[in-house]
Subunit: 218 residues, 2 copies
Amino acid sequence: MTEILNTSSRHFDAKFRETLRDLVLWRRDVRRFRRDPVEPCLIHSLIELASHAPSVGHCQPWRFVLVESAARRAAVRESFGRANAKAAESYGDQERERYIKLKLEGLEDAPVHLAVFADETTQAGNGLGRQTMPETLRYSVVAAVQTFWLAARAEGLGVGWISILEPKIVRQMLDVSEAWTLVAYLCVGRPAEEHLDPELERYGWQQRLDVERTIFKR
Amino acid sequence: MTEILNTSSRHFDAKFRETLRDLVLWRRDVRRFRRDPVEPCLIHSLIELASHAPSVGHCQPWRFVLVESAARRAAVRESFGRANAKAAESYGDQERERYIKLKLEGLEDAPVHLAVFADETTQAGNGLGRQTMPETLRYSVVAAVQTFWLAARAEGLGVGWISILEPKIVRQMLDVSEAWTLVAYLCVGRPAEEHLDPELERYGWQQRLDVERTIFKR
């Protein structure tokens, strides 16, 4: 088996690489969704693909929770409301005025809510690779989220990642193990608009940095 | 500008989606590299693309450090040696024997060493989105790493993520700001072998989990 795999390979051509670049550039954090449902088998296939993300020690710590209950979704929206009001208070008058005008989530309209957790107590991987950097367990889950995001965009779906939430309260509301850490709460659905530029650039909150200023040599 | 972008879009076809799936499946954590150099402009273009990953509040906290100094590379290998010896000690006899046979890094041969940090004190994004979940700053850097990894694989390059390191010591050895957190230390180069299955599966350390057991409904 190993021999066969050693001699096989997979080449990706220039056209694919160019389209992959477009995919990365056209991925957006979406906050405006159409309400039409998304086929469950499509979400399932995206989760299956995301499960091929790298994970420390191959521990595959991602746990995907499809939030379908209207009551639980309402509780998540309430958590956002509290966290967002508190965040708004933290800004000075001028900034607060700009902050509250931003649309930061699409929890009301998104047909799919997907909470993604890290199972901190998984035995898979037998601890390999995470003795000095245990945070790589949660980082593995982020790699799965970004893989899901890109693959979803290729299917014409938009994804929005809501971090303005109370993570422990959301975990309790979703009735999952205390050993699970909320990594990402995702809204998924067909976007109402498509943009090449991030919303926070379009509304003047934060511009793109010059990449040269983020590269260093040692 | 906004109007033009609102009406434009980007469609990805079935052939691209199929090849994207292959890309995700053929991405590997590579520990066996050929020593031929990689064109610096290729690495630069991959970093530029990775900078289009999502980031909380569009804060773009990633800082990429190309480690070129032989002395610094040697110091990183020494850090791996210490962390790996300590990790090996933590296992019982049988497991330790299996652990020490695994090849967990390609620090010696990889032509490119790329340390990726999160700038914890960046003013970009003005704190948006990270008051209740400040860890999303580091998560943004992971999204950039996974984007880099997939794009690198499409170029025929292999990437290996080393987490068996002493993160604070590596940060000091690379002489970067104390406000930067080491998120990932990457080896990059042309792989000596290509595989569809992860090394830790091939050597019997950890098998792939049944994805159905990672999906829940609430």
